[in-house]
């Protein structure tokens, strides 16, 4: 990375991080909402552990994977809404007058998502383990969970950037939330894939990448080390990031031409 690009990324990353940390309205729901659902679901679905073939006798451990995914969904909203606000207020137009490079803008904006991902992952893990969840992979596994969580948060954040650049509207970015919520619910979120009895639901959940991201977290929480599940999880995160950044770069070019 050249010195100029590093400076540009650094400046925008600093702004993105500060803006994220200064907005409790972004951080608090991203922490509280997933933990609330974790508490409700782990209490309400405890009986699922008595189903033959359920991988653990602690539903809390099984469900602890879900907040990491929900947190990543919040990063779509946060990263996208911040950029949309920059577009709506004309800040992006002013940036377009500078020699700023597109790669620097996108990378810098995702810095906020990295910080939020770190805070989220640490909070979910600490709260989950304190509440009695197990972590079969031990301390190294906790570090991998945090790394995976940040990777997924950044990957989904890039989709938020694309949505913001494509639409230029914070309201339109917020409108993506139900869609991502649907994608999360139509996965192996509540039960393992092989316990999903409804045929069409099983087919949809099996084709849904979120099921494999959840499986990567669960492998560390429940089984220990499963290189295949982890490779799939990190691979999907990398693929989503690549697609998101490619789409966002293309949308940025169009947006800068428009302005």
């Amino acid at each position: 990375m050249s010195g100029t690009l590093r400076t540009q990324v650094g400046q925008l990353a600093r702004r993105s991080v500060l803006r994220t940390m200064r907005q409790p309205a972004q951080i608090v729901p991203a922490l509280v909402f997933p933990l609330f659902l974790l508490a409700v679901n782990s209490g309400g679905l405890k009986d699922a552990t008595s189903l033959p073939g359920f991988p653990t006798d602690s539903y809390l451990t099984f469900a602890l994977a879900v907040p990491f995914m929900q947190g990543a969904l919040f990063s779509v909203m946060n990263a996208g809404t911040d950029l949309a606000r920059d577009i709506e207020t004309g800040f992006l137009n002013r940036l377009a007058l500078t020699p700023l490079r597109g790669a620097a803008l996108l990378s810098g904006l995702l810095a906020g998502a990295v910080v939020l991902g770190l805070v989220q992952a640490a909070t979910y893990l600490i709260v989950g383990l304190t509440a009695g969840a197990e972590l079969a992979a031990g301390v190294p596994g906790a570090l991998v969970i945090v790394a995976l969580s940040i990777s997924i948060t950044v990957a989904f954040g890039s989709i938020g950037l694309f949505a913001a650049l494509r639409t230029g509207s914070g309201e339109a970015v917020q409108g993506l939330f139900p869609l991502f919520f649907v994608i999360l619910f139509l996965s192996s979120m509540a039960l393992p894939l092989d316990l999903l009895q409804t045929d069409w639901f099983h087919a949809v959940a099996s084709a849904n990448p979120v099921s494999y991201l959840l499986a990567a977290f669960r492998s560390l929480l429940i089984e220990g080390w499963d290189p295949g599940a982890l490779a799939l999880g990190f691979g999907i995160a990398a693929a989503v990031l690549a697609i998101g950044m490619f789409a966002a770069s293309a949308a940025l070019k169009t947006r800068l031409v428009r302005t």
Partner: protein, 254 residues
């Protein structure tokens, strides 16, 4: 006169709901989505020891989603009221209406029509999906009657908030408590299968009685009917006072 005001306000809200896909789609699609996700994705739960709901898991979840859509139909109407205040339309209502209670009545009527449309779609989808109905026509009348009262209570709650905050920023204040009280009830399994803190909370949550009674209606084994209807009648009365206070605040603010 009050009736005319109510009908005029209701007509505008219903027209907005039916002609704007951004309002219509979430109102109908969200309950369908929850029904699909819960009834489809969690059907294996019916195999858990002690789960013996006679009409199956689809009907079990249908009741929750019906009451949830009733509550959120009211909350979404509250969003509309807040939007009317932001755009200044509600202030024009306040200026024009000789009896302002008619404005609240109009919003309540609109919320009910909106909920009825959602329930028609939800019920049709549930029946196509193979939902078993063990209850009689009278039982089903009781189930939908409960849903109407829940819709009324939620609308009055959201109206009270919207008229106090008078901005869409009050949305989370309308939505989050509703979400909280619904999900702290026995959503996935009957109350007796819950344990620990969630059992303790669900046992004192008034929504539990509504859910258990609704499930009794659809299963053909009516239960807790008097208690559930008592709660379902008291809640709208309390929230009517709350909404009335909100209206007075909005009047005072001008």
């Amino acid at each position: 006169m009050t009736r005319k005001i109510a009908l005029a306000v209701a007509w505008r809200s219903i027209h907005n709901f039916l002609t704007n896909p951004a309002f219509l789609a979430p109102g109908i699609l969200f309950p369908l989505f929850f029904f699909t996700a819960f009834a489809g994705g969690l059907s294996a739960i019916s195999g858990a020891p002690g789960f013996d709901f006679p009409s199956g898991y689809t009907a079990f979840q249908f009741v929750f989603v019906l009451l949830q859509s009733a509550a959120f139909g009211g909350v979404f109407t509250g969003f509309g009221i807040a939007r009317d205040f932001e755009t200044g339309f509600a202030q024009r209502y306040l200026l024009a209406a000789s009896n302002r209670t008619g404005i609240v009545a109009g919003y309540v009527l609109a919320a009910l029509v909106r909920a009825l449309i959602t329930w028609a779609v939800l019920t049709a989808v549930a029946l196509v999906a193979g939902m078993e109905v063990g209850g009689s026509a009278v039982d089903l009348f009781g189930l939908y009657g409960l849903a109407v009262l829940v819709n009324l209570a939620a609308t009055l709650w959201a109206t009270g908030v919207a008229m106090r905050v008078r901005s869409i920023q009050g949305g989370p204040l309308m939505q989050f408590p509703t979400f909280l009280i619904l999900f702290l009830a026995p959503v996935y399994v009957p109350l007796e299968l819950l344990s620990g803190w969630i059992h303790a909370v669900a046992s004192v949550n008034p929504v539990t009685a509504l859910l258990e009674s609704g499930r009794g209606f659809i299963g053909g084994e009516a239960t807790q009917v008097a208690g559930a209807f008592a709660i379902a009648v008291v809640l709208p009365v309390l929230f009517a006072l709350w909404a009335r206070g909100g209206l007075k605040r909005a009047e005072a603010a001008g």
